[in-house]
Symmetry: C2
Subunit: 309 residues, 2 copies
């Protein structure tokens, strides 16, 4: 029998007692000076190699503390072909370290093109072998199907953008639209959430969650509460924690009664923890600062969740 | 002074007397048997190498007939790292052949991540060195800015998804939303079009067109007519011609009085022309079939445009 992404994620969260997703956004200028010194800006091969090394060392530091790692495709693509090789290295390393890999690529396209993206990223036989991929729904409901079909076949999952964490997400996502043949209105993000829920329900596993999840920013805690109830069978990936302003109390609204149903992403707050005052003063090496920040975040999430439940 | 994408495109269309964008969607199973025979499905290196060869030979056949070539990123990503190297080869080859390269990647993300995508693909100093990139606006108006800024700096352009050619594009794009503080409504695609127009106007060049364009499917000719008037300073990339059902008369609605303002994409109808009955019977070699299909399309577009003007 095929593995089921929704169930795998539930098992991973329970096994590690942590709902942390570590975002790998390896901005070169923030990497530890120890790793980057002496490398020329134009030496893209070395930059890509050291970026991969940095990410793998982050994974070493967090693998026992976080179930999921989320490489941000753009930062690898920015390094050209060498960056895509680095992404491959990082994905394999993370899987070998026992983490689920969610690629943040926000892909979306029609028909056979959507299929090509899904085949590129989802499942172990694909180019990059990821467990899940973020997907953009602007093109319409029909364009999700190739992603869902491929994910289902390959024991993988997708997370559909619903309500994103950026200040301008309301420009489109908060617009009110009329429901078919009625005077009632939904916001765009609610319509997208309903689409996600229908696909999550259609692919539900023993955990109660399907293989199609939603992205909902921690920076919109009221919408997060609302959506937790609206999409009971969908995992929610919550970006925007920490550096973007979302708090533990905000993200606690994304969890169900069992402490499942959400994973909370932190990128800068974990991978560049050695730059933060609370860790940089402790004379830790950079990897220890990364591990400490992950442990602290796990503790904050457990506390916030237990105070809600 | 920096070059200006809107003006470059106008010059290219005028110089070649053609508004054709050749879509490179190199599906392996449709490549000429002559190129693919004997290659194992699992031999990704050879598949990527031959995919690049095929695309370059297509470019050789069409370079004098079409101003723009549009590689579809997904089909290269599907081939893994080797595919991204193939994309690099194809982009360079097309630029050397005097074509503008529009990468169809439909990227979209927030802040520094959007910037990383822009830096990956736009301008000659980027990883892949393209002249323009398709961009997805679901995340909001603020997420376009990094793309626009990077494009402006590098003499490149972006095409924002507005009304896509797929059957399900209406699911979101046709929804009616209320305009701020009024009872009037716009459709989602109209709101996105207005965003495009504002950025096109802000970057307008001597051609009358800016560096921010819109994607509007040939399969929705009424919306195409409407949008031509609504976004007078924005280039329109029109997919959906031919195989997807759009006709020359449909796409003629995208042009201005000078025969500018639109480029019409054909993928399968050109690059796999040797599979079509009207060319396969002519005992042409496959490249000659590709060139014939491009010439025929140029003729159809000229006729349709002249009958409108």
């Amino acid at each position: 029998m095929n593995s089921h992404f929704g169930d795998l994620l539930a098992q991973a969260v329970q096994a590690k007692r942590s709902a942390i997703c570590v975002g790998l956004d390896p901005r070169w200028s923030s990497l530890p000076k120890k790793l980057t010194e002496g490398i020329e800006q134009r030496d893209r091969g070395s930059i890509a190699r050291i970026t991969a090394q940095f990410c793998c060392e982050v994974i070493d530091a967090v693998a026992s503390l976080a179930p999921v790692v989320k490489p941000q495709a753009a930062f690898f693509e920015q390094l050209g072909c060498e960056g895509m090789v680095a992404l491959d290295t990082v994905v394999r390393f993370a899987r070998n370290a026992g983490m689920l890999v969610l690629l943040d690529g926000k892909r979306g396209d029609i028909g056979t093109t959507a299929q090509a993206y899904a085949q590129a990223y989802l499942g172990q036989d694909s180019g990059w072998g990821c467990d899940a991929l973020t997907v953009n729904p602007y093109l319409g409901d029909d364009t999700l199907e190739p992603f869902v079909d491929c994910a289902r076949e390959r024991g993988a999952g997708i997370f559909v953008l619903v309500k994103t964490s950026n200040p301008g997400s309301g420009f489109l996502q908060d617009c009110r639209i009329r429901r078919d043949d009625t005077d009632e209105t939904d916001r765009v993000y609610e319509k997208m959430a309903d689409l996600v829920q229908s696909r999550a329900l259609a692919t539900v596993g023993t955990s109660g969650y399907g293989i199609v999840g939603a992205v909902v920013g921690a920076t919109y805690p009221n919408q997060l509460s609302e959506l937790r109830h609206r999409i009971p069978n969908a995992w929610i990936l919550i970006p925007g924690y920490g550096a973007q302003g979302g708090t533990a109390s905000d993200v606690s609204r994304g969890f169900d009664q069992r402490g499942l149903g959400a994973i909370v992403n932190s990128s800068r707050g974990i991978i560049f923890a050695y730059e933060l005052a609370q860790y940089s003063g402790l004379s830790l090496n950079w990897q220890d600062a990364v591990a400490s920040a992950t442990r602290d975040m796990a503790e904050q999430l457990r506390f916030a969740r237990s105070s809600v439940i």
